[in-house]
């Protein structure tokens, strides 16, 4: 079946099996391997992307369901060679160790932070309930998201 969508601002079209998951479409058809497959059971959030502006887990969406939508992946966040403020904050605050969860964390965090420059620790922990990290113990992730939220609003 033919599906077309706008991915990171670029129009794409492919002929796919109806059972192809969106995460496989992004990784295997488009070569966008930023969204990772961790649990494959909608728990870990490492496959999180933006679908029409909301954060969703792409391991639990069919590519055919995303036909005609607009998708942003971690690869689409940086602009003109500059990291997105949330990416920069993860770098600055050491919000990652192995990095496997990071693309999903950042995609969830950018939505959490949009319009909320002053997130509390609790809001961040609650808002990232859908994302698991096996390395950091979350402490630096919370710091990174807090700083990233402020930077997104224009402050530092």
């Amino acid at each position: 079946m033919k599906v077309s969508m706008t991915v990171n601002g670029k129009a794409t079209e492919r002929d796919v099996e109806p059972r192809m998951l969106l995460v496989h479409f992004l990784r295997d058809e488009l070569g966008l391997t930023g969204a990772n497959i961790g649990c494959d059971t909608t728990q870990c959030g490492s496959c999180t992307i933006h679908l029409n502006g909301t954060a969703v887990k792409s391991c639990t969406v069919l590519a055919v369901q995303a036909d005609g939508t607009s998708i942003t992946t971690i690869e689409g966040l940086a602009q003109n060679g500059n990291l997105h403020p949330m990416q920069q904050a993860f770098w600055d605050k050491h919000g990652l160790q192995c990095g496997f969860c990071t693309p999903g964390m950042i995609m969830a965090a950018t939505k959490l932070a949009a319009g909320n420059p002053h997130l509390t620790d609790e809001e961040i922990r609650h808002g990232l309930e859908g994302n698991l990290c096996r390395c950091t113990g979350y402490e630096n992730i919370v710091r990174a998201v807090k700083a990233g939220a402020q930077a997104m609003a224009g402050g530092d």
Binding site: E17, P18, L21, T54, K57, C59, L112
Partner: protein
Amino acid sequence: MYPPKFDYYRADSVDEAVALMGQHGGKFIAGGHSLLPVMKMRLADPGVLIDIGRIDGLRGITRSGNSFRIGALTTHATVAAYDDRHFPDALKHAAGMIGDPQVRNRGTVGGNVAHADPASDLPTVFLALGATFHIAGANGARSVHAANFFTGLFETALAENEVLTAVEVPAEGIENGSAYAKLFNPASRYAMVGACANITVSLTGECTACSVAVGGLTPKATAAPSVGAALVGKQLTDDNIAAAAALVLNDLGGDVMGDIHASAEYRRQMAPVFVGRALTLAGHRAGWVARLQKNVKDVAGDVLEEIERRLRK
């Protein structure tokens, strides 16, 4: 993990969905957040999926008269963010307790109740609120009351070829309060025990009506009439609430479920605790004084509406 192979059709209207189902059989897919996981685990292999996720008119919440109509495709995130002081608090908060933000962005109210997972939150809430389910099928439309909608483990009154179009819940007035309390599965966030209380109080704070339902521990959402009956006519004191909540054990039936996450006995012990919490919270939300504390401006609006309503009568 690919799901098993299937043929895929997309419906642009409810009529088309019903017709496609008549022609090809299979299963409807809305958000896919219950169906795709079970297909990936090979627990379901419907062969045909009919995508109803794009049907216009099945999405969103509208107020009509004294009730709210929630389109079947409305996401949990939309319900949790819905801002209207007459919208039932229990429903708004239960929707916000489902899974995690990403799940709430994709999962739909219709899919949640049609799937009727015993660990789901919304069936319990809709039962306590006395919701009405609007259904479309080949022979036209029909409506089913919550008491008759949930028929068993993963079973509802929906026939294979029927589409749930909307769920309707009564608006909350000044004298009403509702709340949902949940013992979370710490990993999945599903309910191990969920309790919903829907209370009406008089001007003097006496409970005049009380509807309670529980889920998570029984095969389907289960009404607890013993609890309500024990509270009606009484003040909502801690002692009265605790005594009434304990009676939920009379209403659970013989089929309390346990698993690796929590034994049946543990869940049974927790049922009165969570019923008590839901009653307490609902009690705090009901009544003029409670509403006044919540928001003076809202109450001024409520008082004016109430006066208008009485004048019209």
